[in-house]
């Protein structure tokens, strides 16, 4: 259950520090008068609301750098003042020139700028590398090239009618975000979905994790110069997308999860999907085994792009990259929702925090996703999925957290009496993890950036919004 507490502005530093000891810090968002700091606990999301009307709030960015980007965003978008924040640049590119990159200073430092348009089929972003010799000293990232000002545009729109737009904020985590949004509206309406619907949602979310993780491993293979692995991985991702299309009439499963249930016609033939996935599973296992048995691939990815649990914690990072630092953090178990509670999800972790560890976590999660899908389809084979229920969107405010393929996805939504949006805020797993990509690049050479970056494989679109 979502819960909200009030914190006095003068106690922000102390109270947020205490909360971060016992709960997972999820970041913060604001309207013009209040800042809301979000935390995830087993009982649900806890929101600590602070009045921002009476003057500047203390910046938390020095002690807890996870608030760095959030504070920059709140200052730019809602005009909230923070005392003591060293980085005064706006987070999003506004009407003026693109904010200057922060670079390392000193003799022999070279600065290399890449982007916003990249060499591959990649979303836009500017990466500014400060290098000493061949080694990266500092990486500055500038995003928001895909900024559409979505949150402002959603204000005043009907909360139910915008569900297809929520599904299209970001193509690669559409299912996770649709599910998060559906759960938010359902919780405000006091609506519970039946067992079959909940198992269907698990199938859809795990299919999304599956195609993303297989794609990520294919990209890691590519980054390591292992062309055969790239080809095999892309072929398997395609096969999975074809099965997604057969199950939901859409390759990326847009609109498969809707407020009130799953769309009519989704997962009509669980037995056929189960049989097809068993065949795909054997092929995926073969692809993964070949990749991990290739010594030149392993040598290439071991030790590259190091992360660690302390950095992950300070930056509020999550998902496979954080689990690859040995941290057992997963919203599916920390705050189990839907049918996950009864599925006994096994959390995969790895040690080392490098590209190899991230690949290892994804390898384990692929196996677990296949297991969760198979178990859920077995239930669905014996029951039928009902039509989506009608959601009576009540007045209220809630934040919901879901585990997407890149980590914890949250949607915060405030609905007015007439069922329209007062405030919508999306914090994606990519937003939570991007700062750690920059840290993981320190000490690596620029040509390893594709390898390091793709081992996180974060999105830009849900970061930019």
């Amino acid at each position: 259950m979502y819960a909200e507490i009030a914190i006095a502005p003068e106690l922000v530093r102390e109270r947020l520090g205490e909360l971060a000891e016992t709960a997972q810090a999820l970041g913060a968002y604001a309207n013009e008068t209040k800042v809301r700091y979000l935390f995830l606990r087993p009982q649900g999301v806890l929101c600590a609301a602070v009045d921002a009307g009476a003057g500047a709030l203390p910046s938390m960015a020095n002690e807890m750098p996870l608030y760095d980007w959030h504070e920059r965003e709140m200052r730019q978008k809602q005009g909230i003042a923070f005392d003591g924040h060293a980085d005064m640049r706006p987070l999003s590119i506004g009407d003026g020139p693109v904010p200057e990159a922060m670079t390392a200073q000193g003799e022999g430092v070279n600065v290399v700028v890449v982007g916003p348009v990249h060499a591959g089929i990649i979303e836009p972003g500017r990466f500014t590398f400060s290098t000493g010799g061949e080694t990266t000293i500092h990486l500055d990232t500038q995003f928001s090239y895909g900024h559409r000002d979505i949150e402002r545009a959603m204000a005043g729109r009907d909360a139910l009618e915008i569900a297809p737009l929520i599904a299209r904020i970001c193509g690669g985590c559409s299912v996770a975000r649709s599910w998060t949004y559906a759960r938010a509206l359902e919780s405000m309406a006091g609506l519970a979905c039946g067992e079959a619907t909940e198992f269907a949602r698990v199938v859809l979310a795990e299919l999304e994790r599956l195609y993303n993780h297989v794609f990520d491993l294919a990209n890691a293979a590519s980054g390591a110069g292992y062309g055969r692995g790239l080809a095999a991985g892309l072929g398997l991702k395609e096969r999975i997308l074809q099965l997604c299309a057969a199950a939901t009439q859409h390759r990326l499963m847009f609109d498969a999860i809707v407020p009130g249930g799953v769309r009519t016609g989704v997962l009509r033939d669980p037995q056929a999907l189960r049989a097809d996935l068993r065949a795909v599973r054997r092929q995926v296992e073969r692809f993964v085994k070949d990749m991990f048995e290739n010594r030149s691939v392993i040598r290439r990815i071991a030790g590259a792009g190091l992360g660690d649990s302390q950095t992950a914690r300070l930056f509020g990072a999550c998902g496979p990259a954080t689990r690859a630092c040995g941290v057992e953090l997963d919203a599916r178990t920390l705050c189990a929702y839907g049918a996950y509670a009864g599925l006994d999800v096994r959390i995969a972790t790895a040690k080392g925090g490098d590209v190899l560890a991230r690949c290892n976590v994804k390898r384990s999660e692929i196996a677990e996703s296949f297991r969760l899908i198979d178990a859920s389809l077995a239930v669905l084979a014996k029951s039928s999925i009902p039509e989506p229920q009608r959601v009576e969107c009540g007045v209220g405010r809630v934040t919901v957290a879901t585990e997407g393929s890149r980590g914890i996805e949250t949607v915060s939504v405030e609905v007015k009496e007439d069922g329209t949006i007062e405030r919508l805020h999306v914090i994606s797993a990519s937003y939570r993890n991007w700062p750690t990509v920059a840290r993981a690049m320190e000490g690596n050479i620029i040509p390893d950036f594709p390898l390091v970056n793709k081992s996180f494989n974060l999105c830009y679109s849900c970061m930019d919004r």
């Binding site: 999003s92 089929i121 979303e123 090239y145 900024h147 000002d149 193509g171 892309l234």
Partner: protein, 137 residues
Amino acid sequence: MSKIYERSLSIRHLVCGSCNGCEHEMNALAGPAYDITQHGWDLVASPRHADVITVSGPMTEAMRDAAAATLAATPHPMVVVAIGDCAIGVGPWSGVGSAGDGAGPELGARVTVRGCPPNPEEIVRGLREAAQLLDDA
């Protein structure tokens, strides 16, 4: 008349506020299922090597300059192909917030590929159309 471009097309992709759905499908072109290299086509790393610029997304404020610079760096003859509903101006984000009315119309696209996102087969069809335009020019 010899069909040069139909057998040798260099493609550069430009993302202008897309949700990355179109990029998932563009990436599929390089995989074994669609493998556009079988036609002699290639996804190239610089607009200076390109015959075709594929664009996705409604167009965002921040991408306008970079998109113009990309087109300016592309040698002629060239064709812009609008990939997906957003780029055509009929997508979910057209005119929403600060998003524009389609990167395609803004950048003079002569070929359009519908879909949210379009299937890889549809993208291949659009690329073939672009090759024909270049060959007929």
